[in-house]
Assembly symmetry: D3
Homo-oligomer: 241 residues x 6
Amino acid sequence: MTSLRPSGRAPEQMRAVTLQRGYTRHAEGSVLVSFGETRVLCTATVEAKVPAFLRGKGEGWVTAEYGMLPRATHTRSEREAARGKQGGRTLEIQRLIGRSLRACVDRAALGERTITLDCDVLQADGGTRTAAITGAYVALVDAVTALHKAGELKRDPILGAVAAVSVGIYRGVPVLDLDYAEDSDCDTDMNVVMNDGGGFIELQGTAEGHAFRRNELDALLTLAEQGCHALFAAQRAALAE
Amino acid sequence: MTSLRPSGRAPEQMRAVTLQRGYTRHAEGSVLVSFGETRVLCTATVEAKVPAFLRGKGEGWVTAEYGMLPRATHTRSEREAARGKQGGRTLEIQRLIGRSLRACVDRAALGERTITLDCDVLQADGGTRTAAITGAYVALVDAVTALHKAGELKRDPILGAVAAVSVGIYRGVPVLDLDYAEDSDCDTDMNVVMNDGGGFIELQGTAEGHAFRRNELDALLTLAEQGCHALFAAQRAALAE
Amino acid sequence: MTSLRPSGRAPEQMRAVTLQRGYTRHAEGSVLVSFGETRVLCTATVEAKVPAFLRGKGEGWVTAEYGMLPRATHTRSEREAARGKQGGRTLEIQRLIGRSLRACVDRAALGERTITLDCDVLQADGGTRTAAITGAYVALVDAVTALHKAGELKRDPILGAVAAVSVGIYRGVPVLDLDYAEDSDCDTDMNVVMNDGGGFIELQGTAEGHAFRRNELDALLTLAEQGCHALFAAQRAALAE
Amino acid sequence: MTSLRPSGRAPEQMRAVTLQRGYTRHAEGSVLVSFGETRVLCTATVEAKVPAFLRGKGEGWVTAEYGMLPRATHTRSEREAARGKQGGRTLEIQRLIGRSLRACVDRAALGERTITLDCDVLQADGGTRTAAITGAYVALVDAVTALHKAGELKRDPILGAVAAVSVGIYRGVPVLDLDYAEDSDCDTDMNVVMNDGGGFIELQGTAEGHAFRRNELDALLTLAEQGCHALFAAQRAALAE
Amino acid sequence: MTSLRPSGRAPEQMRAVTLQRGYTRHAEGSVLVSFGETRVLCTATVEAKVPAFLRGKGEGWVTAEYGMLPRATHTRSEREAARGKQGGRTLEIQRLIGRSLRACVDRAALGERTITLDCDVLQADGGTRTAAITGAYVALVDAVTALHKAGELKRDPILGAVAAVSVGIYRGVPVLDLDYAEDSDCDTDMNVVMNDGGGFIELQGTAEGHAFRRNELDALLTLAEQGCHALFAAQRAALAE
Amino acid sequence: MTSLRPSGRAPEQMRAVTLQRGYTRHAEGSVLVSFGETRVLCTATVEAKVPAFLRGKGEGWVTAEYGMLPRATHTRSEREAARGKQGGRTLEIQRLIGRSLRACVDRAALGERTITLDCDVLQADGGTRTAAITGAYVALVDAVTALHKAGELKRDPILGAVAAVSVGIYRGVPVLDLDYAEDSDCDTDMNVVMNDGGGFIELQGTAEGHAFRRNELDALLTLAEQGCHALFAAQRAALAE
């Protein structure tokens, strides 16, 4: 079975995960997250303003932007700033990151502030959006902690942890945490965002090859639960440093 | 229980579905699909060309574009053509429609042709993307049939039917086919795309309020299977006319 | 003579005109107008705001936007939202519609409100801009009537009716209400916007082939007057329903 | 009567018209046209290529672009290049200029070449589009003459002269060649493009205040014919220098 | 040595410089500057507003925009308004002009006003940016003088004169004020902006061919000092008229 | 004197410079360059194509793109991809980087290939463009070495080394390698690009406060020569590893 995956990993084996806090110095939270060779810089910026639709409501906002350096990938992709717009994939991913992180924040407790999570992929090897969500949570906590230390919060706006992992059916076998070689050659690919209470926040599954059945879905969800369990542990360890 | 839903529907009850073929005259396929008050015009256009990445490979392409008339909604939304770009939601939906329809087409059998599915929402009341997928399938079949009658195809490129429905947890109860009143006030919202062989093509679930549990997910998937089953019957009936 | 026009119409014969009110449900006015096979959905939206240059002047504004669904035409045209901008033809037409409708509104009586007329072509067969103006007038009246019933107006801001029709010289003969087959093959094409007091609001004539003479112009204007006369009757009948 | 118009002109009196050839040195034709204080630089550029839709048909193309320097007007208007797009008015005018000039060119005789007429307003005082058409014709002739001298043409592609003038109803009186003071305060404004055979090429009339009647239209057209007659003489004189 | 330069000029010889004030009538300052065949229209617009970052600080702003008419050059360049954005060269030049002119203005003395310098190239033959800076200074002085005469200034905001010239190494020889023939074929090209106190405001040197040495740089700077000296005299003469 | 600079550095003292090769894995060259707290990721991509203006000439091309992560700075700057265009500062810098690197490449020896240098600022503390040029040179050499090892080059296209440093007059004293605290508060700021033969490639000096004199310029250039000398040593050391 170990020979199934190009990387030699067992089906239920994640890549090495690291969460390096304080990677850059200006942001209120700055985390370099690695899922194997995938490396994403997640920064959290706190600003004392909210979007127009929230003004005067006493609530905060959490949003995300996603980018990929042109040569994060095997072949160079065009710089979106040069092309003059963000592509559909970018918008889809940053909307997902934003929704996922909002799910763990009590926006009333945050007050009229916006936290922007910038997730920029320095090196891509599959799973950039799940790494981004997992790392952005740690950056978010650091930014909120800074607010708290500055006496700007009455209560903790963090409702719980959020993490994400991909699962998929590769050559007929459900596997956890797809890398690029698997992702570009699998039948089904699913991104799962969970909270540390065991609930699902987002589920996005796509049959790239044949359609998947209920029992396959069940196997994938079980793997994803295991993966997120490990990610919550990694987040706690990083935040305890 | 009947009083739970604003529309008075039972939890497992879909809205009335109609599929009106030949709604406009120029397109190779043209279907007005209604899910209750949601009305989407789906046209299929066949062109003898493929995107650059497919040229010379003998394969065809299926893609989709989605739009919403400015006053399809309760309050007028800005026209994307005037704003100068398609929003993230639009791009996300049209990518979903395109992937879903490609899943039911044998692109080698289609030959070097592109079929573009334009899904334009005339009136919105929740579920526009699921209605669009369900209607676009019928328009696609009409366009392929026309090709077939013209002697341009050697074998049928349609691999099976595709339909989509939304499910969600509304006031604690799993319900089928959310309308706008439910969609804007539910805890969990999931769009499910299936084929008529009982397989899942896409699954996109979002916890708007509290995260959902495995058993809730199971109940939603069972509802979605029932809904798609009914939609396949409606598609067959429309195509038999 | 009846064999001159591709449609078999007499030179002074318009196509069948229908004005279907309440075509969609959210807009304050919503009219599907048909000039033969040309079908345009015209919605009127009322908003309690005015453009910056009118703020605080106690006057209202009337504006229009025009769009064409990609497959309203014989061959698919690119979606303007995807292309990232509205083309010159679109801007020219929507400016014309806006000017035409403003000509029948007492903007002081309207108060500080904007009425936006969205004219979206579902199916095109020539004359989309004249159908749009004729239908938008009915949608505008419905929107104003709704304001009136809500007690929001002190006096009626509608100064009179507005309608539009095209005329042209086709194979040497002046004809009324050109369809696509004629429009794409005529020498002169003129769009005439009139009010029901018999005055001209806009006149846009273009010699596509040879330049036209004063006597030809006179013949065209006489036809246009007849056509608008018939359109005012159709508008009155629709509004009386 | 002389006191009617702000400039003291008689109703049928045009402003002084000058056509200065060779105003800049690089273009194949370069004319500074003045209608009173309105000054437009019209250059004609010849390029050995045609748009995609004409390739291989042995025909040429004539097109126009229009611009206004930011401070050509009383108050500075935003630079369209900085704003990132050409406005509706600009597109409308440059489409009109292009159609008008194409009406006087035998495109088969031109061969597979494009002549681009750039009309840039250095100073505006009403009537920029009519001045542009009148001046662009002279620049076009100069460019065609240069081609002819170089032995690149078999026959003359110029079918006749084209000129344009505005007319309007100012304080109840039909007047010729409106300046800015009149244009911004008149009831009806019409731009008339004619050829020197006495035919009409374009007619664009707009009722800014009250709608105009057939007899008013007749008076305006008669004025326009007189104005164009004078412009053809000015063009001939300039080309004879 | 006189035969070295294509124009026959001596190495230290500038082209004829003219500064024609009041070239157009609407702007507060309007100067047509010529450096030989290079002609740039520089207008100064005064507006009673400042950019957001300066509001309420009691200071003014000076900024510039640069454009080139499409046929100012040997071959037609695409219109930036049509292309939808200003190119890098345009942005670079207008930023340079803005910085250079701000260097001679006491912004506190100007008060909360913005002066915009529009520099539009009517004809290009090398050195458009240096001509633009030199001419814009005169337009700026005219605009400030108008403010002063209107009693709107308490003290003179002009700190001194600003002028600019290019220098370069052409066929091994340092030369002053490069024209197009030299500019497109030289080894080193440097633009030098100075004030009339003998100080340097900007220095932008580029080695197009071989890198330049300290002694070459010294020779170029000496030439530039001579050139600016002559330009200050030309500015004073123009302003004395 | 050591107390003059906020960092405590001596006037002629550069910040610590590091050049980390192989920072990411996909690019042909990938260098993380640090000038103190300024950190820029420079990647070199080799592609077997050239821009249209070079096709068929047997020459290669070297170009650069520059970007700044939104939170590389003290306060978050808007993402250029989201804003829909690159700003003037970005375009100016990437044009400078491209010109500087082209100055050290024999493009005929490179053959019909393009090398793109992407310089993305992870953390900014002044001097990002000089760090980018210095680091991009090392990435370029690595990419060329890879081509050479693959037997794709007949001769070495690298003509010599290129490096850049900033100098400025801070509180009256000429200083080397300005950090952000100095850069935002200095009188004169100059970026100097040199080759290792002692020649100047680019010189861009701006007087932010008072204009600078010849003797100040001389002192700055001497400092810059010292700085570049040290940078060439650092490049050689990095490439020798």
